[in-house]
Symmetry: C2
Subunit: 78 residues, 2 copies
C-alpha cells in the first residue's frame, strides 16, 4: 500500500492545507499525520527526510512537497 | 465530480511535483493540467485564482497549494 505523511504544526496554513490534501488524496493511500509542534522528537527525522517547512507532504516516491508556507522546520525546534 | 487543476511551466520542479501529485490523487477527481509556459493566455486567469508560483494545485475548495517552488507567476508573463 502506498503511504504518505503529512507534516504540520497546527498553524492556520497547515490546517487549511490538511483539509485540501484530505479532499484530494486517493482513498487507497495510507495517510499518517504528524504534528511537529506536539511531537518534537520527530523534527529531526522529518528534516532528514527533506522537510524544510510545514505544511509538507512526504509522497510515496520519497519526495517532499512543501505546500504553501506555515513555519520553518528550524522554528519547530524551539 | 470534484476537480483540481495543476499549473506548471515545464520546469524540473514542476515535472517532479506533477508525478507526485498524480501518484497520490484520488482517481475519482478530474485533473486538468495547464502548462502556463505554453498557454500564456491563462496566466492572468491563474493569477486571479491565487496562483503565485508554479507548480501549484487549485483544489476543489478553491484554495491554491503552492508545491515547492519552480518559477514565479510574474516570470511567466515574459
Amino acid at each position: 500500500m502506498k503511504k504518505v505523511t503529512f507534516y504540520h504544526a497546527g498553524c492556520p496554513v497547515c490546517i487549511s492545507a490538511e483539509h485540501d490534501i484530505l479532499a484530494t488524496l486517493d482513498p487507497a493511500i495510507e495517510l499518517t499525520i504528524v504534528h511537529l509542534g506536539e511531537e518534537k522528537v520527530k523534527v529531526t527525522e522529518a528534516e532528514a527526510l527533506g522537510v524544510k517547512s510545514v505544511p509538507a507532504l512526504l509522497t510515496p516516491s520519497g519526495n517532499v512537497l512543501h505546500l504553501n508556507f506555515g513555519a520553518s522546520i528550524a522554528d519547530l525546534r524551539a
